[in-house]
Amino acid sequence: MSASLAAPPVRRPRGREGAFVPVLAVVLALVAVWYAGAYVLNRPQVMDAFARQKVEPDFESLVAATWSMERPVLPAPHQVAAELWKTTVEQRITSKRSLVFHGWITLSSTLVGFAIGTALGILLAVAVVHVKSLEKSLMPWIVASQTIPILAIAPMVVVVLNAVNITGLLPKAVISTYLSFFPVTVGMVKGLRSPEILHLDLMRTFSASAWQTFWKLRLPGSVPFLFTSMKVGVAASLVGAIVAELPTGAVSGLGARLLSGSYYGQTVQIWAALVAASLLAAALVTIVGAIDRLVVRRMGMAR
């Protein structure tokens, strides 16, 4: 805080070592809640079905029925697991019935969008921090741009891009970019401005150029903000990729799976795609977190 001594490093929560048992415990708890939820939410329909057959169900048959419906309100975990198994392990990964295939489609546009989005986000933040007139004139419009509901303009974006013969991965990546650059911009504007005044003064005494100050002080100083923003950004990017799969004809990718599952009322399929998307997101966020720790260690800021 008042920097009479070299600003000490950021102390971070411990890594994932020994995370297995806690994660397992939390997952088990989650699954238990899920089963209970499945019972509660599916019960009314099951009751109706029994009533139609004029049987008075006992608790066990109720439980069995709620956990094995063909079109449940909330499918039971094992149903989703079975579907996941069926659509990943039991399919060739090149098959369009394979979730791995669809996951890959979504992942590729997520990654492209995230890369562009992060670069754009940092670039905008750098511009806003360094050019005074941009902070006042551009920043409000960056904010306004984020209030435009993407799903509303996504079709228009896709139509326009299609019209100029940009198809395939790129239109989806554009939507991902659109969603992911903003958290990065906001975080980095803060991060690039967070160095101590004293540290900035030091650069001034060296008469360092803005560029040098950026590389040697602002950027290293913004690392905690950068990675936090990137975690949010990569998640947003995935959301963008999935959303963008709808107006591009929803032919492949997890978004298309979600939608067609939804359209045909195949709840189990929806949940399988949802779980797949979540796992993908968690994996991406975890990777960004791991890179974060690696960078912090390389910078000598980890204790």
Partner: protein, 309 residues
């Protein structure tokens, strides 16, 4: 071969079997055409796609096409493979609805996005305000599925004979507990899946010729689909890139779709057109679908050229 892009109104399914069959069986190729079929989806407005130059031909419902025409997208119907409307309102019997007179005070699920016009026309005809309250009906925007009915969140929902209706059945509600109102039976049917192009492009005889070959091959595809239901369903399934469709579902849909294309040569029946326009004009309200009789919204030039009687 001449390139042509067709934008569908919805995702790949048996509803568009004719086109997929024509493509797979080489009917387009025979006519010297290289047709690209773009699946649609929610929030894809084919009208917007064609205006943006993303397609040469689109399939859409006539009310939406006519509305777009008033908004400055000069769509022209060049062919009408669907003769009969498949739209209906499906209600649970236990809500006490037996006839349209019982709608008062009920909650009805409706598809918007340009699909609401037939419903609005019907309600206008019944004299039911759609703004809720005891004397009108409460309208909710229905999503992609039939959950509102299964969850009892709505008393009636919109269904297509070929798709959502069967999802309700699959959802565990037997036909005996359902009441259905077909728009066709209520006298408010409007023309569904037709083929539309932009008016100015019809000035080019080469384009008309291309369209004629396209329509001819497409109608051949529809005819083939009617005769080979199972094969057609299989073709649709093969073309579904999401890999989410099931054979059972597409086969059943194919059967229902065939009932709707039955009796169409592809040539638009002027009487059907007039009835659709009349229905839409009757809808009225503060934000009418169309305000006046459309001019030049259809042509027989293409079907004539294709030699369709």
């Amino acid at each position: 071969a001449d390139a042509l892009t067709l934008q569908l109104k919805w995702v790949t399914q048996a509803q568009f079997a004719g086109y997929y069959v024509a493509k797979d069986k080489g009917f387009y190729e025979e006519e010297g055409l290289d047709v690209t079929i773009k699946p649609g989806g929610p929030d894809i407005a084919p009208e917007q796609v064609i205006a943006g130059g993303g397609a040469d031909v689109i399939t859409t419902w006539m009310p939406a096409a006519l509305a777009s025409r008033e908004k400055g997208v000069p769509l022209v119907n060049i062919a009408q493979p669907f003769k009969t409307s498949g739209l209906m309102l499906t209600c649970r019997k236990e809500t006490g609805i037996a006839s349209p007179a019982d709608f008062k005070g009920k909650t009805l699920g409706v598809w918007f996005f340009g699909n609401e016009y037939p419903f609005l026309a019907w309600m206008a005809k019944l004299g039911l305000p759609t703004t809720g309250g005891a004397d009108g009906v409460t309208v909710v925007k229905q999503g992609f599925n039939v959950d509102p009915l299964l969850q009892k969140q709505a008393d009636c929902i919109s269904t297509m004979t070929y798709n959502e209706y069967w999802q309700v059945i699959d959802g565990g509600i037997p036909e005996s507990e359902l009441v259905v109102f077909k728009y066709e039976d209520q006298g408010v049917a409007t023309l569904e899946d037709g083929l539309y192009v932009l008016e100015d492009k019809l000035a080019d005889p080469a384009f008309v010729d291309k369209l004629a070959r396209f329509v001819k091959a497409s109608m051949k595809g529809w005819a083939y689909a009617r005769e080979h239901t199972e094969e057609a369903a299989k073709i649709v399934l093969d073309n579904d890139e999401t890999g989410a469709q099931t054979e059972k579902h597409q086969l059943r849909m194919m059967g229902e779709i065939n009932k709707l294309t039955e009796g169409s040569t592809g040539k638009l029946d002027e009487a059907d057109y007039k009835r659709t326009v009349a229905t839409l004009l009757s809808a009225g309200g503060e934000d009418p679908v169309i305000t006046k009789e459309p001019q030049g919204a259809w042509t027989h030039a293409v079907t004539d050229k294709a030699g369709i009687e």
